[in-house]
Symmetry: C2
């Protein structure tokens, strides 16, 4: 039995099954936008959930990650005591071409 075996494995939704409204709602939040941007600039699976610079508590952060998984934006897996993340960039791009590019580009109005 590993340290993480009592945790429920995260549920994922593939971007192909995500309505456009769900994708937009997932990205239309400043905390989630920060998570997505930080993930985009990090190697895959290099970031644990607690490593992001966002001003929210553990429960809220967990909710935000659930929304990102449900929108097909983030994949998670347990690695020992840590839950690590990757941005599903290629799959999400294939489903919603250009959307990630829009939110990842430096924005003069942000």
């Amino acid at each position: 039995m590993t340290a993480a075996s009592h945790r429920t494995a995260p549920e994922h939704t593939h971007p192909d099954a995500v309505p456009v409204l769900t994708a937009l709602a997932a990205l239309a939040d400043p905390v989630r936008l920060t998570l997505v941007r930080e993930l985009a600039s990090s190697p895959e699976w290099s970031r644990a959930c607690g490593s992001f610079d966002v001003p929210v508590g553990k429960a809220a952060l967990s909710h935000h990650f659930a929304v990102l998984r449900g929108a097909g934006l983030v994949e998670q897996r347990d690695q020992g005591p840590k839950r690590v993340n990757r941005l599903r960039r290629a799959e999400f791009d294939a489903r919603f071409p250009g959307l990630l590019e829009l939110v990842l580009r430096p924005d003069r109005c942000d």
Copy 2:
């Protein structure tokens, strides 16, 4: 004095001044998505605010149009007793390339 002269003219925001988060939040709502889609399939200035097939009251509808104006998506003007609308498609496309196309395409997951 015209019938509409006592109304406050609607305030608009040009898409060039809109943060990406504001644009996403404006589109991440089923009622507003319906308004945008119906406007996209109608000639400019042909649709009065009351002509849309959305299940909301007058005050809520007014709020949704204010959000769309504030995101640079919709332009309105008073025409006699009616307030008519157009989608700011070219300007919005220039600011957020591909975003309107994503929400306007028929979606297999919707």
